[in-house]
Symmetry: C2
Subunit: 310 residues, 2 copies
């Protein structure tokens, strides 16, 4: 069964033709105007037509970077990107323009499905996956099924757990969310407020996780403190997810995984000390499929009806 | 269908015979030795035999104040009370001593079932219920089913969400849990560390929520600050639960509900400002059944098989 995949991200749409655990062909469509999805659809359609030249695809799995009601395949809320998406009938578009059934899912949920289908979560049923990058994604699977909830919001807002009382206002509207304390977009804000930041080597660099971890490795005291702050935020977020969703495995993806050794071993230690898991130890692993995870996720999205149950 | 109910709490076991939305008879069994469940079972058995004199009961629903694997009806972990419970085969005990099927559930989950059966959650399917008392209970129902998870821990640790980075060590082993920042047992610790606490009127009273709210109502500045701290903790915990479980209704029970007006209206306002719910507003209500909620919960526990599904 061949499925077309679209993973709509910050700067481009990754399109692919996927079968089983293989990506048969792929194409990347640059997105010019991040504000709107509508104007990007013709280029995505053209790419999908090229990928499906022989007409063998049986459906389209579409990953969207926002809140999604998977049961109705509608975008319910966006957060700064593609603000017109809730108004767009993607199922209707796919049917009329490409003659194919489309299933919509949140991109982070699709990535978790992909890792459980072909990556670091193979044969696992109770998994939370975090993506530590520009934002923080955190999604939950319980008993082999993605958690959806009444309005499609359950188990998908792992980065929007309030971990710091009286903390920074988050883009989601909350305060002290993990994402507002230890994500790519928050890091410059957190750093700028840090005591003695101006004396730090980090102050002379572009403030991102790569430079933060490099400065910390060089012994820069402020960078070490900020790195520890971020690690503690990710640790607390992991404990929150374990206490909420009862997983056996935590998977980590995203740009921060360039420093996977440090992050994975810190979180492994943190959750073994602070999570209440009398049944045993939650395993902590790096995701394996990188940016392809969501593309692989379209296979279980179509093949396993259970993946769509609430 | 008549069901025997046992709600095993801190100082006593409430036993009852329940049918539909009526408690037909009840008996309270004092617990002398909180450390052990085994020695308390004969008195509980005697009470259940008196309640079921005519032999009409068709089962026993047993609520336990700790982690429970409802699928296997075993206690998996305790937290300071009844440490022998994980070793006790309650199903075997009920079968051999009373000739009845026993179903075990966490007491807070049973209370949520009860409120949805006969109280403030009637006809609701997506509900999180918090109990603000000596500890903080927080349990989740999604799509009409209690969330259980792989090891029975999902959706039942709402009071053990880490809301304060670098906060106080909690009895569960975590740090900065809601319960370690704004529960009955934590309140004296939080207060003692508060700036200017010794000048507060609260310092001359027993430190509990009733006195805290009374001092705050009298304009005591420190009491007002501590009260605000607790309200913020409960608000953050509510947002964490909304972002995790996507409910339409939050229910609040427990001793703090003596000040229901203040608590409910604060949390209503907090979640309407800080929770990301593009679909609409989460309702916030006081629970209605008080200490009887778990007793009523045995009816759906037995009658609705779905209540036991993961």
């Amino acid at each position: 069964m061949k499925i077309l995949a679209v993973d709509l991200g910050g700067t481009h749409a990754s399109c692919a033709l996927v079968e089983g655990v293989a990506i048969l062909a792929r194409e990347v469509v640059p997105i010019r105007d991040l504000a709107l999805l509508g104007p990007a659809l013709p280029a995505i359609q053209a790419a999908l037509e090229r990928l499906n030249r022989d007409g063998s695809a049986e459906g389209i799995g579409f990953g969207f970077c926002g809140l999604v009601d998977a049961l109705s395949s509608r975008v319910t809320s966006t957060n700064g990107k593609f603000e017109d998406a809730p108004e767009i009938d993607l199922v209707g578009w796919a049917q009329s323009q490409l003659g194919l059934l489309l299933r919509l899912e949140n991109d982070a949920r699709l990535a978790l499905l992909g890792e459980c289908h072909a990556g670091a979560g193979k044969s696992q049923t109770d998994v939370v996956m975090f993506t530590l990058g520009t934002g923080i994604g955190g999604v939950a699977m319980i008993d082999g099924r993605l958690l959806h909830g009444r309005h499609g919001q359950a188990g998908v807002l792992g980065g929007h757990v309030p971990v710091k009382l009286g903390g920074r206002r988050c883009t989601c509207g909350g305060v002290g969310c993990a994402e507002s304390e230890a994500s790519g977009w928050a890091l410059p804000l957190v750093s700028a407020e840090w005591a003695n930041f101006k004396e730090s080597a980090l102050a002379r660099e572009e403030i991102n996780f790569e430079n933060l971890f490099a400065c910390a490795a060089n012994g820069d005291r402020t960078a070490i403190e900020i790195q520890r702050h971020c690690l503690n935020v990710w640790g607390a977020t992991a404990v929150a997810a374990i206490h909420a969703f009862d997983p056996e495995l935590l998977l980590y993806g995203g740009g921060v995984m360039k420093s996977a050794n440090i992050v994975i071993s810190f979180i492994e230690d943190y959750v073994s000390r602070y999570a209440w898991t009398p049944w045993g130890k939650v395993r902590v692993r790096a995701a394996q499929l990188g940016n392809d995870a969501a593309l692989f996720g379209v296979v279980p999205l179509f093949c396993e009806e259970s993946a769509r149950v609430r």
